[in-house]
């Protein structure tokens, strides 16, 4: 493997790892279920994508490469579906998202302008 591919691969892996950490930090910092879901989707999409891309550059055979691509496709297809199911289930079971009230402070009992 060429030296360029090695460096590029490691750069992708490190940035992907940092994005994973960012997602976790967001998960802890954000105030409610719905906003936390957005933080988790960073880990779901770009972080996974970059780590898999970094691994693809190190793939020893084309069959490993193909499998990594398949993993990426499945993650990108199932991620939003699971996210949608989670958010819909939370709303339907009565969990109200925090929304900015008149004073600009987040509050839970604001009437949502849309939704169920």
């Amino acid at each position: 493997m060429s030296i360029v591919a090695t460096y590029l691969s490691w750069a992708l892996l490190v940035i992907g790892g940092l994005l994973c950490i960012s997602g976790s930090v967001g998960l802890l910092r954000f105030p409610d279920f719905f906003t936390r879901m957005h933080a988790a989707s960073v880990t779901d999409t770009l972080a996974t994508g970059m780590i898999l891309a970094g691994l693809m550059l190190q793939a020893p055979t084309w069959i490993v490469l193909a499998k990594l691509i398949m993993i990426l496709v499945f993650v990108l297809l199932t991620g939003p579906t699971a996210g949608h199911a989670l958010a819909k289930a939370a709303l339907h079971s009565g969990l109200k998202p925090l929304l900015p009230g008149k004073s600009g402070v987040l509050e839970a009992d604001t009437k949502p302008s849309g939704g169920v």
Partner: protein, 157 residues
């Protein structure tokens, strides 16, 4: 034989070959048998149709994926920026947005694309509207501008 059956068959063969990676006569036999079995079961279940095999999208979908990838990176950077901001001061929003008539598969692609980009999640899809929870109000304005909707509509043309 329908064109969808053929395309599912080709897809299954490729999927099998890439997962197996072993090319011996016994493996060929087992692979052929399992692909045929899956085809038989799916046709008996009547799930082989233009919904499970949306071949009419094939021509335009690569361009859409490239555009979606660009959007994905942009919104990821935005959300990561929000995460590391010292004063969070979030302005989340839950808004129902009207959408003009899209095909069934178009609605699925549209709703899933919105959920896939960080910062926005689809919570409800009806015939002519879509409910979105956004981490920041500005994302709602972006969806309301209708660029993604227009691109999804162009897919099956």
């Amino acid at each position: 034989m329908k064109i969808q059956t053929l395309s599912l068959g080709v897809l299954l063969v490729a999927f099998w070959a890439l997962n197996s990676g072993l090319f011996k006569p016994l493996m060929y036999g087992l692979g052929t048998a399992s692909v045929l079995l899956v085809l038989l079961i799916s046709s008996r279940m009547k799930v082989i149709d233009s919904e499970s095999q949306p071949l009419n999208l094939t021509k335009n979908i690569p361009g859409y994926y490239l555009w979606l990838l660009k959007e994905l990176v942009i919104s990821n950077i935005k959300v990561v920026g929000t995460i590391w901001r010292s004063n969070l001061h979030l302005q989340p929003a839950l808004v129902t947005i009207k959408m003009d008539h899209l095909s069934e598969i178009g609605k699925v692609i549209y709703a899933n694309s919105i959920s896939l980009t960080p910062g926005t999640v689809t919570t409800e899809v009806t015939d002519n509207s879509i409910t979105v929870h956004a981490l920041d109000k500005s994302s709602i304005a972006e969806i309301e501008s209708g660029e993604m909707e227009a691109r999804v509509r162009k897919l099956d043309k």
